[in-house]
């Protein structure tokens, strides 16, 4: 699915270094994002491999970046994804959005459009009614940030 060539991986790495230098104090730090993640997980470990995040690898305009999330879940009354939390480390606030689902959702899916202030990592967390935690992350390179100035 992710087909990073050696060259684009190098370019991505170079871009990230540049952005880190340029980031000003108003951006949330990875530590703040981690604190927001911990608030959701309660410090418990989250399983990976259950969430599919659809986000562009390179977003030209950080003002509106399409985000689609799918979580692998039976979505029955006994076992369903009740909450999905999206957190980013390149915005002034780490929180992006929180979705509340029900067994009536049928599938654990949601999509929206988000703002990203710069290149960074988007973390998607999910909680099931049985108390399981899932997590997945994706790095997005942003050419023009979406937070105004």
């Amino acid at each position: 699915m992710s087909s990073l060539t050696r060259r684009s991986a190098l370019l991505l790495g170079a871009g990230m270094t540049l952005t880190l230098v340029a980031v000003d104090n108003s951006m949330a730090t990875p530590a703040e994002a981690d604190a927001e993640i911990a608030k959701f997980t309660g410090g418990k470990a989250a399983e990976s491999g259950k969430i599919a995040i659809d986000l562009p690898e390179i977003a030209e305009n950080g003002n509106t970046v399409p985000l689609a999330i799918k979580v692998d879940s039976p979505m029955t009354t006994d076992d369903y994804v009740s909450e999905i939390r999206v957190i980013g480390d390149a915005n002034p606030n780490p929180g992006i959005v929180r979705f509340h689902l029900t067994p009536m959702s049928g599938r654990a899916e949601a999509a929206t459009r988000i703002r990203l202030g710069g290149t960074g990592t988007v973390t998607v967390l999910a909680k099931t009614s049985t108390g399981k935690l899932y997590a997945e992350r994706k790095v997005v390179k942003v050419t023009v940030g979406g937070c105004g100035g």
């Binding site: 003002n63 915005n91 002034p92 959005v97 999509a111 988000i114």
Partner: protein, 107 residues
């Protein structure tokens, strides 16, 4: 916000179908981080909550933060067992509530 929210809900479905709903609401989603020309901060004004109910039962809810793009768009699914009405509500920081409704016939 005089403009009506845009909804895409199928008008018919079979019992047990999982249908997809798309909504688009006009709103500036002012983050509170921007400054005007005089350098004064522009106060935050966003839609902070979106709820969809079906026949009175909540099926989908989103808590929005300033990182949601202007004109908030949502896509989600609902499993329908009966005919009924979807009700949608968007609440902004000023307490303004915008609502919309759409029915579905389930056979």
């Amino acid at each position: 916000m005089a403009e009506k929210p845009r909804l895409r809900v199928p008008s018919e479905a079979k019992k047990g179908d999982i249908i997809q709903i798309k909504t688009l609401m006009s709103h500036v989603m002012e983050t509170g981080f921007r400054k005007d020309e005089a350098g004064k901060p522009i106060p935050r004004e966003i839609i902070n909550s979106f709820v969809c109910t079906f026949n009175g039962h909540e099926v989908f809810r989103a808590d929005l933060e300033p990182a949601i793009s202007a004109n908030p768009y949502f896509e989600f699914t609902v499993k329908v067992e009966d005919s009924g009405t979807f009700a949608f509500a968007w609440v902004d920081d000023n307490g303004t509530v915008t609502t919309a409704e759409q029915g579905i016939t389930v056979s």
